[in-house]
Amino acid sequence: MSLQPNSITNPDLSETKNAKTAKPRSLWMDSLFHLLKSKTSLIGFCIIFILIVTAIFAPLIATHSPTEQSILNQYQTPSSEHWLGTDALGRDIFSRIIYGTRISIQIGVIAVGISMIIGVLLGSVAGYFGKWADQIIMRFVDILLAFPSILLAIALVAVLGPSLRNAMIAVGIIGIPQFARIIRSAVLSVKETEYIEAARAIGAKHGRTLMQHVLPNCIAPIIVQATLSVGTAILDAAGLSFLGLGAQPPTPEWGAMLSDGRAALQNAPWVITFPGLAIFFVVIGFNLFGDGLRDALDPKLKK
């Protein structure tokens, strides 16, 4: 489930080879080059690419409708007609997994969107203004971190009511602290640079300085954190759906498919095998690509 702050997920402190000399523009080029050179992040990129393409062209790729049922064909083993077999209602598992990519992307975008917007806002205000604003915000973040994240998500869904929408909100909320912390430290380091001081000296307003000068320089850690968070969000949301607290039937959400297929564990193991594999691969994709992005984009995170 939820991973811990990402500096810990893969703190590959070892490969501090690249220099931090380049100017901003060439840093991006440098990063891109770096990213594509790494085999692992390339694999990650490919998985994400396939995921997005599948989601866009789902109707073309799927062999059946994801909800079309044919009860008489329940629990068919994988065959040329049903590549990954059928479930209890005779629905085509392959097609459901294909359509499930859309749900996963939706979860990724919305949940991480929530964490990112609120997290960046809190983190940058805390970092930029410091003092009591920093104190209040970071103590609030500490409080959120005092709860095991998935448990907090479950509690939130419990009070909001089970649905995919509420699951995304809950997963979004538990992702806030990580964004806030990372953005705060990024802002802190940018704030001290000369050109920010210069901007302030010419009399630029705080809001303007923050939006125009500080935040654009924190894009890199935001992107890295967002990528890694998508994997976590998909994993958490699938967990909630597995418990019946997320996507509701007949939504072809992977976690919900697993929960539906539990009854057939012994007789039709394919019903639970493939949706699980799908979650697994997509999360691997985001983790690999996120790690690669960090190595490439954000030398600061590597000391």
Binding site: S14, L160, L243, L258
Partner: protein, 334 residues
């Protein structure tokens, strides 16, 4: 050192207050009238009034919060709506199962994670490094509920080696003293029960421990690598000290500190992940208790249990911090 401990303990107080405020607010997040959504629209006005009074929903928030905290300090966590039983009592009955599972998973994660991390770092870029780090990547990306089901499929259905649910076979008799079955079976010299309890722990323990294991392995490896590049290790190497001594006595000692922090944080993950693991393996612990209460809209149970788990987690973090300072050679307290 004592001063530091005192200071650090004092610092947990605002966090604890925040945690209690947040769990307290949880019940007010319920859309509409909480009493009504607990009892249903069929409830009579008198019943609603009674429950509102019981929950103190008529008082100002600050008074309600005061009562909430006051009761908790006295160990009163309220009553479950479903069973009418004291929540504190039900929790106490279920906590040992969860703590046993959590600790088992953590030991498993540490034993495998640290070992793999150290070897991977020492033999950087070797096949072992590659395989274990790929394994760690798989580990952090693992949907543990799926892993649990797959293990049941393999070890219970196919191979029939491990029991798919519960803590102990019914045929085994065990005198419970602490309710930690492994411990109880050792205390009563009951080898059959120990073996049985151990087999029951294996699959849930592995499912729960996988992600922390992977994270610990990665952390240990990178932390080791960093330390081993330090001058003093190189010096030791140049001096011709035995590699084993360098690794264990010098490198690991320093590399262990960041790992310790991760371990503390992962306890939180384990307590949360227990909800999924326990519901898959029918483990009669707190995780399943929360899950069933969520399904049954037993909000007082959800609220109190989450509060208790958060408090446990805060204290685990406190202990980790103190250990960190204790072990950190760079920090000296007078």
């Amino acid at each position: 050192m004592l001063k530091y401990i005192a200071k650090r303990i004092l610092l947990t107080i605002p966090v604890l207050i925040g945690v209690s405020v947040l769990t307290f607010s949880l019940i007010h997040l319920i859309p509409g009238d909480p009493a009504k959504s607990m009892l249903g629209t069929k409830a009579t006005e008198t019943q609603l009034k009674l429950l509102r009074e019981e929950l103190g929903l008529n008082d100002p928030y600050i008074v309600q919060y005061g009562n909430f905290v006051g009761k908790i300090i006295q160990g009163d966590l309220g009553e479950s709506i479903q069973s009418n039983e004291s929540i504190a009592y039900e929790l106490l009955q279920k906590l040992p199962a969860t703590i046993e599972l959590t600790i088992f998973a953590m030991i498993l994660a540490m034993a495998v994670g640290i070992t793999a991390g150290v070897i991977a770092a020492v033999k950087q870029y070797s096949w072992f490094d590659n395989i274990s780090m790929t394994g760690a990547l798989f580990g952090v990306s693992m949907p543990i509920f799926w892993l649990g089901l797959m293990m049941i499929l393999l070890f219970s259905v196919q191979l029939q080696l491990l029991p798919p649910s519960g803590r102990l076979s019914s045929s085994i008799e065990l005198e419970t003293i602490t309710n930690f079955y492994l411990l109880d079976s050792i205390l009563t010299w009951n080898w059959a029960a120990f073996k049985d309890a151990f087999f029951h722990l294996l699959m849930p323990g592995i499912a729960l421990g996988t992600i922390p294991m992977a994270i610990i392995a990665r952390m240990t490896r990178s932390s080791m690598l960093e330390v081993m590049r330090q001058d003093y290790i190189r010096t030791a190497d140049a001096k011709g000290l035995k590699k084993r001594i360098i690794i264990f006595r010098h490198a690991l000692k320093n590399a262990f500190l960041p790992v310790l922090t991760v371990i503390g944080l992962q306890f939180g993950f384990l307590l949360g992940g227990a909800v999924l693991t326990e519901s898959i393996f029918s483990w009669p612990g707190v995780g399943r208790y929360v899950y069933l209460s969520v399904l049954g809209r037993d909000y007082p149970v959800v609220q109190s249990t989450i509060l208790v788990i958060a408090i446990i987690f805060v204290f685990v973090n406190l202990i980790t911090d103190l250990l960190y300072k204790y072990f950190d050679p760079r920090i000296r307290y007078k």
